[in-house]
């Protein structure tokens, strides 16, 4: 068995791979469905209806996609620089805390002031969350995978502590939750009677800006160079450490905005279960997108659809909603494998002496 590289692959093939990977993962869902004893076609149908069956469900999917776009962008930009930000989950909560610290009554003002303030506070808090591991990496050589990962746990416990202490809402009848975000600081609804909110617009704008920055600016050039060959980038005069620290801040800020979006746009207040793992799912989104910011938007829609669809199917048919997590994680693995087959082909060689 011989593995040989293919030549250049066309754009079309490159873009088809994540789509095929996603379909393969969805198809493989039939196995756990079968194990659970559910009628497979009916299950798929329920998943589809769960997303596309009504305007409400569709906007629900978009609402779910909003934080995923943010965390997907966070992962995509960081990974592009080969900075393994696995801490988006924690940075999301930091962003939410930042929003709550500023937006629940500390200051008041018109929406045109409050909303940007809340976003900036959240973004800054998220940025700090990744800056720490990045500094530990550049100054001490400490692997940022482990530090950003462990920080997630620390931050979550910290949020618990805050919600039982300084941030606690005295009106919440004992539940550990924060005071609600002021109306002036909340991200407005986009469609009446639906949960979809302006956070989606912010996310889309962020994706466009990220795409332009990555492909058309010198900053984006440096990120790509450092990510693909840090030694050559350094040799060429690029300050790799400064680039990494910059990406860390932006990546953390984006994950922080995911938190802002959930707190100031969707839920209205902070609890410890604000995120069902958006930070980790963001990594899958980024990989499915091939680390492209515009691709992140599409991949986020896919992952959100899987979650919303599986939730709905689960309620209708009693199959565990962990199926969604299964499909999403299988998507990650299949896009990884798919990427391999895009770059290499496997030839089963005959005996020595066989030509090509």
């Amino acid at each position: 068995m011989v593995i040989e590289p293919r030549g250049n692959i066309s754009r079309g093939v490159q873009m088809a791979i994540p789509v095929i990977a996603a379909l393969v993962a969805l198809g493989l869902a039939a196995l756990p469905l079968g194990f659970a004893g559910a009628p497979i076609l009916e299950a798929y149908k329920q998943m589809f209806i769960g997303v596309f069956g009504s305007v409400f469900s569709f906007t629900e999917m978009l609402t779910r996609a909003t934080p995923l776009i943010f965390t997907g962008l966070a992962a995509a930009l960081a990974f592009k620089a080969r900075l393994w930000n696995i801490g988006a989950e924690g940075q999301l909560y930091l962003g939410a805390m930042g929003a709550v610290a500023v937006g629940t009554g500390l200051i008041d003002g018109p929406a045109v002031l409050m909303i940007p303030l809340v976003m900036i506070a959240g973004a800054a808090a998220g940025a700090a969350g990744m800056l720490g591991p990045a500094i530990l990496k550049t100054r001490f050589g400490a692997d940022e995978v482990v530090t950003s990962l462990l920080l997630n746990f620390i931050i979550l416990i910290f949020v618990q502590m805050m919600l039982e202490g300084p941030l606690k809402d005295p009106m919440s009848m004992g539940w550990p939750q924060s005071e609600p975000i002021l109306d002036n600081a909340a991200l407005p609804q986009l469609i009446p009677r639906m949960r979809i909110h302006a956070g989606l617009i912010v996310a889309l704008v962020a994706a466009v800006i990220a795409q332009i920055a990555l492909t058309k600016t010198t900053w984006g050039f440096k990120i790509r160079a450092v990510g693909e060959n840090a030694a050559a980038a350094r040799h060429a005069g690029i300050n790799a450490n400064r680039t990494l620290l910059g990406v860390a801040c932006i990546s953390g800020a984006l994950a922080g905005l995911a938190g802002v979006s959930e707190v100031a746009g969707l839920k209205g207040y902070l609890t410890t279960d604000l995120s069902p793992g958006y930070g980790y799912s963001g990594i899958v989104v980024a990989m499915l997108a091939g680390l492209s910011p515009m691709g992140v938007v599409i991949a986020a829609l896919y992952v959100a659809s899987v979650f919303v669809g599986a939730d709905s199917m689960s309620r209708a048919m009693g199959v565990s909603s962990f199926l969604a997590d299964l499909v999403v994680s299988m998507s990650l693995i299949s896009v990884l494998v798919g990427g391999f087959f895009a770059r290499y082909r496997i030839r089963f060689a005959g005996k020595a002496g066989a030509g090509r």
């Binding site: 400490a142 462990l150 199959v319 693995i333 990884l336």
Partner: protein, 313 residues
């Protein structure tokens, strides 16, 4: 507040060793993978798999040791998956590992939820009981601490010795050390780089799964979602702290166990003044600090994270 009293209390040491046990398994497992050149970030998920499979086997009626074997086998299987993605295919070890963690965790959770859909509180099994070694268990202090631990703790301690022997005293171990430094050297001597690496990752993953199995079959007797709670990641940090050596791995795990046992007891003493969450954070903070201290000087296996391909690519 008498902190020294804590050290004199027998139960502190018993707890230390008990808390350290899953970490011993995990660090040994990660050590095997990384010495061979492969980073296995699937460890967190493999812990969950080991916990679930071990427990489920016993719940289904199998004897405890069969459950242990089943857990190890399941771990080995996920290890094989990660190994195939990263060794012959040479895909990103970071992404593959994270994917395995996500996949393993969701698979274990789905399986558990599907087999036991309507339980209000997690069902329990008869877990490993503290051993009662005649005569030795009755030695004051040393007896309860060492000789009344469960069989799985003993297994962990034995594995430290086994892993040490294999790596340092057998030809297989020398080959393993070589493949993590310069796979070309191994290939030039007619050995298979692929087989060595895949084998190491499978064996390491089996050990990792035992760490998880300990949680549901010895420390506790039921499976809860979120029970692994980052132990896998802590092991990844501890491996570096242990310079990839089994002896230091044991030491690191024990120190960690002692620290964790200490902070739990400290909590009961100081709980009124300091919020409990500070203590809960402590293990993770400690891991980060440990990592930062050793990071500069750490001598990573030279070929770690570098895929090796047969022939020309």
């Amino acid at each position: 507040m008498d902190m020294l009293q804590i050290f004199l209390n027998e139960s502190f040491w018993v707890a230390s060793l008990r808390i350290a046990t899953p970490l011993i398994f995990g660090v040994l497992g990660a050590l095997l993978c990384e010495r061979a050149g492969v980073l296995n970030l699937g460890i967190e998920g493999i812990f969950v798999v080991g916990a679930m499979v071990g427990w489920m086997s016993v719940y289904a009626g199998a004897p405890l040791w069969l459950g242990v074997i089943a857990a190890a086998a399941a771990g080995g299987l996920f290890g094989l998956f990660h190994a195939i993605l990263t060794v012959p295919l040479g895909l990103s070890q970071h992404v593959s590992g994270l994917g395995i963690t996500l996949f393993a965790t969701s698979a274990a959770s789905f399986l558990y939820r599907t087999i036991l859909p309507d339980v209000s509180s997690p069902p329990r099994i008869t877990a490993f009981q503290p051993m009662d070694v005649p005569f030795l268990s009755d030695i004051p202090f040393l007896g309860p601490v060492v000789f009344q631990q469960t069989a799985l703790t003993w297994l962990a301690l034995i594995m430290v010795g086994v892993v040490w022997w294999v790596i340092n005293r057998t030809p297989l171990g020398v080959a393993l050390q070589a493949v993590g430094d310069n796979p070309d050297a191994v290939n030039a001597q007619g050995l298979s780089v692929y087989k060595l690496r895949i084998g190491a990752v499978m064996a390491g993953s089996a050990l990792m799964a035992l760490g998880g199995a300990f949680l549901t079959m010895s420390a506790f007797d039921a499976f809860f979602f979120g029970m692994v709670n980052g132990r896998g990641w802590i092991c990844i940090a501890l491996v570096i702290f242990a310079s990839w050596r089994p002896g230091k791995a044991l030491l690191g795990a024990l120190l960690f166990g002692m620290f964790d046992a200490f902070q739990v007891r400290l909590q009961t003493e100081a709980g009124a003044v300091v919020p409990s969450q500070i203590f809960l954070m402590a293990p993770y903070v400690l891991s980060i600090i440990a990592l930062v201290i050793v990071a500069r000087k750490a001598e990573y296996p030279r070929a770690l994270l570098h895929p090796w391909f047969k022939g020309h690519r």
